[in-house]
């Protein structure tokens, strides 16, 4: 959806990106949700290309970062820090300095801890509101953004939130445009070396390739032989649903409508 009647000319959008990992092959790529966040940022900053800043905290030589640049970015800003360092504090400082209005991130990273806590910690640090699982930013008017939030079962909820805010972008957001190789190589990497505290808690963790989770077994807790026999042989019987055979079609339709209203699907 193209944002309409915006005050986007002087809006400052920051998209935080991380290095993605393909779920099957494990190859380094642009992360799915983060690339959607970049896409949304590009859409919002269509009139003002300088208004979008793509920010990464980590290693600037990471090849995965170039694939974000291939979406049409002139530069990617990188806060260079140690891989074992905690990125929250330098990112928070950077955001405060840059005067961002909207900060876009993914919901969960595809590499590292992937707890999805970064946007929340930044919001807590900066005192900004956070909107989780955003599908679209519809408009920005007089410092208030109208945001569509993705709900389960494909539903959407409209929210209004005052700038500045942080939004985590759901997979329901518009898909990212293709990444072109040439522009990706030509894009500039603006590197700032920052000092950050080492994440000591994480050093004590063991990380391994994910094991397959055991499936939950259906345990039959029958006390008597008769119950065990019944559990092994019984067919699931109908719950004694109501059968309307002789009624007129009007009555049948009425009963169906009543049930639909009771279940709350007829809105």
């Amino acid at each position: 959806m193209q944002p309409n009647s915006l005050q986007l000319e002087n809006l400052k959008i920051v998209t935080l990106v991380s290095v993605g990992k393909h779920p099957q092959s494990g190859r380094v790529r642009r992360a799915d949700q983060d690339s959607r966040a970049v896409e949304l940022g590009l859409t919002l900053a269509a009139q003002n290309p300088d208004g979008l800043m793509v920010l990464h905290a980590g290693d600037p030589a990471e090849p995965g970062l170039r694939s974000y640049a291939g979406m049409g970015l002139a530069a990617i800003n990188v806060l260079q820090l140690d891989p074992a360092a905690d990125a929250v504090a330098p990112l928070g400082e950077q955001l405060q300095q840059s005067g961002a209005d909207i900060v876009l991130t993914g919901v969960r990273a595809e590499s590292g801890e992937g707890s999805g806590m970064l946007p929340y910690q930044l919001a807590e640090k900066l005192g900004w509101p956070i909107v989780s699982r955003v599908a679209d930013i519809v408009s920005v008017n007089e410092g208030v953004a109208e945001v569509l939030q993705a709900l389960p079962r494909g539903q959407r909820r409209a929210l209004k939130v005052r700038l500045p805010f942080i939004a985590s972008i759901d997979t329901a957001a518009p898909a990212a445009r293709q990444s072109a190789f040439g522009p990706a190589q030509r894009a500039a990497m603006t590197v700032t070396v920052v000092e950050a505290e080492t994440d000591t808690v994480r050093q004590s963790w063991d990380e391994a390739v994910a094991r397959k989770r055991p499936k939950r077994l259906k345990v039959i807790k029958a006390k008597t032989a008769a119950e065990r026999f019944k559990a092994a042989t019984a067919k699931s019987q109908s719950e004694g649903g109501r059968i309307m055979k002789k009624e007129a079609p009007e009555e049948q339709a009425q009963a169906i409508v009543d049930l639909l209203i009771e279940e709350g699907v007829l809105r």
Binding site: R108, G114, L151, R153, G154, R216, I243, E250, Q252
Partner: protein, 420 residues
């Protein structure tokens, strides 16, 4: 001669013989020899006369009472065993510590995920010294009736009007209040899209805790959680706040719990930075079939396809189809419901003209309410359905469209009146 002969003649009483032969005759007992006498066979073996065992029951059938008259008492016992079993009550009178579970309560009821998390809470409490109580925090109006069998020791039901809408900031304030009042050992949230992840992450940021997300193997010392988009297992010390994956632990099913209501002293009212503008109308056919909430599905019994599409748009339902309808070219392949198509999770599934092949029934296994419209009252779909209308689908669908349109018209009139 004649008199001698007369004396020698054995007079037979055919009636008595008949009675003696007929074990069912009421006088049979008076004519046969004493039943209680012990009879020994030629080898000294005790012989039993099987015809004399037992008695004739009221309906003429012989009954053998091997329980020696104790049948009445044991019969009573069996009947009571068949009645509902009262599970043993698990009581925590003075809890040494609390473990708080914040339930999603989708539609006002505990979800399966919520119950898994409560089961995990009990597993955690068992590993910690002292007696712990599981405190469930539920927001919004509750329709749940079985908090006790789900394993809730203490229940904090926050059903003020301010929690009805989407209000993560207000809920967060309430949870912070719970933290100061109860100082729980652990905070457990279901890691779900229904709000558990969002609320848990907000609380973790506020309390400066480092949560374990997608935790799936948890005890009081170590936690295994998924990281890096589900491709890594992180083994770490169990943190105070956990976002638990589905099926992290077994649900409680062998005990009953008190579910004692508790209250909070006061919750500050927060000025919401996120203003809820309400749900947005979505095109039901744009929703993926697998996650649609309400599906109108067509099968071989549909002849008027125009009417079917009209019914789907009037009802606001996502369209589905059986294999036959797809094979015949009336519906696209991605609309097929069943084992070879999509496994749906709809809450309400309205099947029109589908008799219910086993592959189709597998596909709708997770649906809550199934409504069938069919001409055949004996088909499998009618057996599965909670409401079935037997008759011509065209007529019933036509009526349905009319009534729903009338309902919509009435609603909009009421809405106008409210607005006025």
């Amino acid at each position: 001669m004649s008199s001698h002969d007369v004396l020698d003649i054995v007079r037979r009483d055919p009636r008595a013989e008949w009675i003696a032969r007929n074990r069912l005759h009421p006088l049979h007992g008076t004519l046969v020899s004493d039943a209680t006498a012990e009879v020994r066979g030629p080898s000294g073996l005790l012989r039993k006369y099987p015809h004399r065992v037992g008695f004739i029951g009221p309906n003429g059938i012989k009954r053998i009472d091997r329980l020696k008259g104790n049948a009445a008492a044991s019969g009573k016992g069996r009947r009571s065993a068949a009645q509902e079993v009262q599970l043993p009550l698990h009581q925590v009178e003075n809890p040494d510590f609390y473990i708080v579970v914040v339930a999603d309560m989708v539609g006002g009821r505990l979800t399966g995920h919520d119950k898994d998390v409560i089961g995990q809470a009990h597993k955690l409490a068992a590993g910690i010294e002292g007696s712990g109580a599981i405190l469930a925090v539920c927001f919004g109006p509750s329709k749940e009736e079985h908090f006790d069998t789900a394993g809730v020791d203490r229940l904090l039901l926050l059903d003020d009007a301010i929690y009805d809408d989407y209000c993560p900031e207000q809920k967060l304030a309430a949870l912070v209040q719970v933290d100061t009042e109860y100082q729980p050992t652990h905070w457990l949230f279901p890691d779900s899209v229904n709000g558990g992840t969002d609320l848990g992450s907000r609380l973790a940021a506020r309390l400066h805790e480092r949560p374990a997300a997608q935790a799936w193997q948890v005890d009081h010392q170590t936690t295994v959680c998924r990281g890096a988009g589900g491709t890594m297992d992180i083994t770490r010390a169990t943190p105070r706040l956990l976002l638990l994956a589905e099926e992290c632990a077994d649900q409680i099913d062998e005990t009953r719990h008190e579910a004692l209501p508790v209250t909070l002293t006061a919750v500050p009212t927060v000025v919401a930075q996120l203003q809820n503008q309400g749900p947005v109308a979505v095109d039901p056919n744009a929703v993926a079939l697998a996650e649609a909430e309400f599906i109108l599905s067509a099968g071989n019994g549909i002849h008027d396809w125009e009417q079917f599409h009209q019914a789907a748009s009037v009802l606001g339902a996502t369209e589905g189809a059986s294999r036959v309808a797809v094979d015949d070219g009336f519906m696209p392949r991605f609309r097929q419901v069943g084992a070879t198509g999509t496994w749906v999770t709809a809450r309400v599934y309205l099947a029109v003209g589908i008799s219910g092949a086993i592959q189709h029934m597998q596909g709708i296994g997770q649906c809550d309410k199934v409504i069938a419209i069919n001409t055949d009252a004996g088909c499998d779909m009618v057996k599965r359905a909670s409401l079935s209308a037997i008759g011509d689908s065209e007529v019933i669908l036509g009526e349905l469209i009319k009534q729903v349109q009338a309902f919509r018209a009435q609603q909009s009139v009421e809405g106008d009146q409210d607005a006025a």
